[in-house]
Amino acid sequence: MWLTRPLQERSTQIFLGVLFGALVIVSALHLFMPQDSALYVSSYTVTLLGKYLCYALLAVAVDLVWGYLGILSLGHGAFFALGGYAMGMYLMRQIGDRGVYGDPVLPDFMVFLNWQELPWYWAGFDMAWFAFIMVLLAPGILALVFGFLAFRSRVTGVYLSIITQALTFALMLAFFRNEMGFGGNNGLTDFKDILGFDLRTDATRLGLFLATGIALAIGYVICRGIVTSKLGRVSVACRDAEARTRFIGYRVERVQLFVFVVSAMLAGVAGALYVPQVGIINPSEFSPLFSIEVVVWVALGGRATLYGAVIGALLVNYAKTVFTGIMPDAWLFALGGLFVLVTVFLPKGIAGLMSRRSKKDDTDTPAAQEATA
């Protein structure tokens, strides 16, 4: 099965091992260490790590389309944000009448802008199952429609990049509009609980962190499954010689559409897990610069490796956290410098450093491996 194949791969095993190890250790340190111990992991840190993992999943999604399919999406933030909004709408509905105006149905921002009733597209979001399906469907359908149009017209290269950017930019402006019914610039915030668990408790936070870790693991395995399958090789073929791929009988646009939609859904899941952990979703997640930054994480970690994307996302965001704290006035120098230095000195990103060593075992290609297996 294409999904179990990655589990036999060394690199995936290592990745999952490290990830689950980290999840277990963090949980253990959080639960069993005394608060004043140096080893204690506070719930602040747990949530922070949870956020990084969301970003890592988003980066993996971007690497899937960029690294393996050659689609430099400058609009993945849109899928991330849509997933986030779907989750945010659910969380908003969970507030019930605990909002400041005490309206049992309408979120606060609708009350003070005189909305009389919930817009139709908010219907159903009070039910968790519906919301969670929408987390996948909202970005998935957008990607399907957008991708269908773009790939059918054979939009490629920078043209594709720029229209993905136009897409997220347009959505950002649209979501800014208060008329849209998504809370305008303020977005959705002040969430109370999820699936009946109070978001403010440490246990819920830990749960979300673990859920994110598992989502990342699943996302990683799915992506790995795709890229090690024959479809993955076809993707690479599309990336390097799109026209040639058609002549050997592959419908390039469908390959692109399939992978793009899968990637968008993963991004949506990342967004959905992000929202309860950071406590707000607002249109700035649609900002084109955010999407570009995600691409930068991937490039920094090492394109077309998947685990590189994870490393890049974790590293950059950790660096941001640290730098904004210890050198609030100069952290941009450090971050900018990091980007420049990595590009110039590590052409294959950070993952390039690691793969140099393990290259020897990698020469057995997936196809060849499988044949012998």
Partner: protein
């Protein structure tokens, strides 16, 4: 219209008496008294004091009133002496005595009470000063004054206006005065015969008068007014269309300017230059810097900024090329990562070295205000210059890329670097020159943008997305495409804006770009043929 009424009385006084009293002078104690009254009365009372001062005939009165209007008439707290403030920035102000004109040097801001003025009083003052201009020897001044009279003629003034008309030699001034009178006649007297004068006038006061007349009980007047209004509406429609087109072109030329440098560095060289916006920013800061270096000469500074802005940005661009981009040959996507880093550094550099706050860039007089095409249509000057500048920059670039070897060589180098070098093309030099050129042009854009928008650390970020959009929409590698894309996106945006609002218009333009790319997957001017299809 209370202000106007008292103003017109004053006007009569002034017109008739001021020349005769010009040499008169009230004594200092009287002056002190008048000024004290000004300082200590409420805003309502101040009006009559102003009129008293104006009517006093003292030849210092004009100075006092002008200073008062500028918020520069004050009193030293301790001594109660009246002063005129010469420099009012910072904590210490330079002042001179209001009565003797003697320079008193710097005085702490704490010790000065400025005499407060407000818009209403400033209006009054301007009225006084401008009506005097009706007698000015300079025709332009008279014309401005006459135009200002439209809508502010009242009973007293109406009697005088025909005299002015008779005495006036300039046709334009005469026409303006006639119209001013006609407005009064239609509005206040319901005079049907005056309607004809107003027919076709684009002046808003005239329109207001006609509108009112349209609803009048007098059917003849109402009908005449309605007819006149019709012709006005017709003209206004034309004007509005012309105005929208102008707005569109001007927005478009801003987009073109912002994007055209990128059309070189990205479109031709293939470097995804995320620091392009910051290079624009450097150009804008150069303008600010120049104006700091040449205080009091904003115009000269602006002109010098054109070469300076180009140089600064070009050198910065070359530095980026040498330190970063040259190591990324054959990895165009990685340039995105590195230049993103560079853009963060440049932004923060400006925040740290200069300031996180916006800087003031002064618009020189010859670029301020607007050219009046007719009373319903004025075109703003700064934007007109920007349109012209964009076209000049475009033409210059076009010349360089078409007529010099650089254009050929850079294309050869980007299409096949190894082969180009084998043909003896000095690829490194070409890289430096081209990147420098693209960056320099970004700097020029910054110089122009400093006249339109904020000069601050975020300047670049607000243009980078649009710039890429324009270059790609036009078709990568095609300068004409960039020009047409910029202008058309600008125009479309402005056509949509009145109808959809600013936000929705922008969204619609983006959606349009997305849909357009479906139809033409390689932009407006695509690279065609076998090679492009790969």
């Amino acid at each position: 219209m209370g202000i106007i009424r008292s103003l017109s009385q004053l006007l009569l006084v002034c017109c008739l008496l001021w020349p005769a009293l010009a040499s008169a002078q009230v004594d200092d104690s009287q002056a002190q008294q008048l000024l004290t009254a000004l300082a200590e009365s409420s805003f309502k009372e101040k009006k009559s004091v102003v009129n008293q001062i104006a009517g006093s005939g003292d030849d210092r009165a004009r100075t006092w009133l002008e200073a008062y209007g500028d918020n520069k008439l004050g009193r030293i707290e301790s001594s109660g002496d009246f002063i005129i403030v010469l420099k009012n920035r910072g904590r210490n102000w330079t002042v001179q005595s209001a009565l003797s004109g003697e320079n008193l040097g710097e005085i702490s801001r704490r010790d000065i009470d400025t005499i407060r003025v407000n818009n209403a009083l400033r209006n009054e003052l301007e009225g006084i000063l401008s009506v005097i201009d009706l007698k000015s020897p300079d025709e332009d001044n008279r014309l401005t004054a006459a135009r200002a009279l439209k809508g502010s003629v009242d009973d007293t003034l109406a009697e005088r206006v025909p005299d002015f008309i008779a005495a006036e030699e300039s046709d334009a001034v005469q026409a303006a005065l006639t119209e001013a009178l006609a407005i009064y006649q239609v509005e206040e007297q319901g005079d049907v015969s005056a309607v004809a004068t107003l027919s076709g006038s684009l002046n808003s006061e005239a329109r207001a008068a006609l509108q009112q007349a349209q609803n009048s009980d007098d059917p003849a007047l109402a009908a005449a007014a309605a007819k006149a209004m019709e012709s006005i509406e017709q003209k206004l429609k034309m004007n509005r269309a012309a105005e929208t087109l102008y707005f569109g072109l001007s927005l478009g030329s801003v987009l073109v300017l912002a994007a055209i440098g990128l059309a070189i560095t990205f479109g031709v060289m293939g470097v995804i230059n995320m620091a392009h916006g910051e290079l624009i920013m450097l150009g804008a800061y150069t303008t600010w810097g120049m104006q700091q270096l040449l205080p009091g000469q904003p115009g000269l500074a602006l002109i010098l900024s054109i070469p300076a802005g180009f140089l600064v940005a070009a050198l910065a661009g070359i530095a980026i090329e040498r330190t970063v981009i040259q190591h990324l040959k054959g990895r165009p996507l990685e340039t995105l990562l590195a230049t993103f880093g560079v853009s963060l550094i440049l932004q923060q550099l400006v925040r740290t070295v200069i300031s996180p706050l916006n800087r003031t860039v002064i618009t020189p007089d010859w670029m301020s205000g607007s050219v009046m095409i007719n009373e319903g249509l004025s075109l703003t000057l700064n934007r007109m210059y920007v349109i012209g500048f964009a076209l000049v920059v475009f033409a210059g670039l076009m010349l360089i890329m078409r007529k010099t070897r650089l254009g050929l060589e850079v294309r050869a180098v980007t299409q096949n670097r190894a082969m180009a070098r084998s043909m003896g093309i000095k690829a490194t030099k070409v890289d430096i020159l081209t990147f420098g050129l693209g960056s320099g042009v970004a700097g020029l854009a910054g110089v122009a943008l400093s006249q339109i928008t904020n000069v601050g650390p975020n300047l670049g970020q607000s243009y980078i997305i649009d710039s890429f959009m324009v270059v790609v929409f036009g078709g990568v590698g095609n300068l004409w495409g960039t020009l047409l894309a910029g202008l058309s996106l600008g125009t479309i945006n402005q056509l949509l804006e009145p109808w959809a609002g600013a936000v929705l218009a922008k969204i619609l333009v983006l959606v349009l770009i997305i849909l357009f790319i479906q139809k033409r997957p390689r932009g407006l001017f695509p690279q065609k043929g076998r090679a492009a299809e790969g």
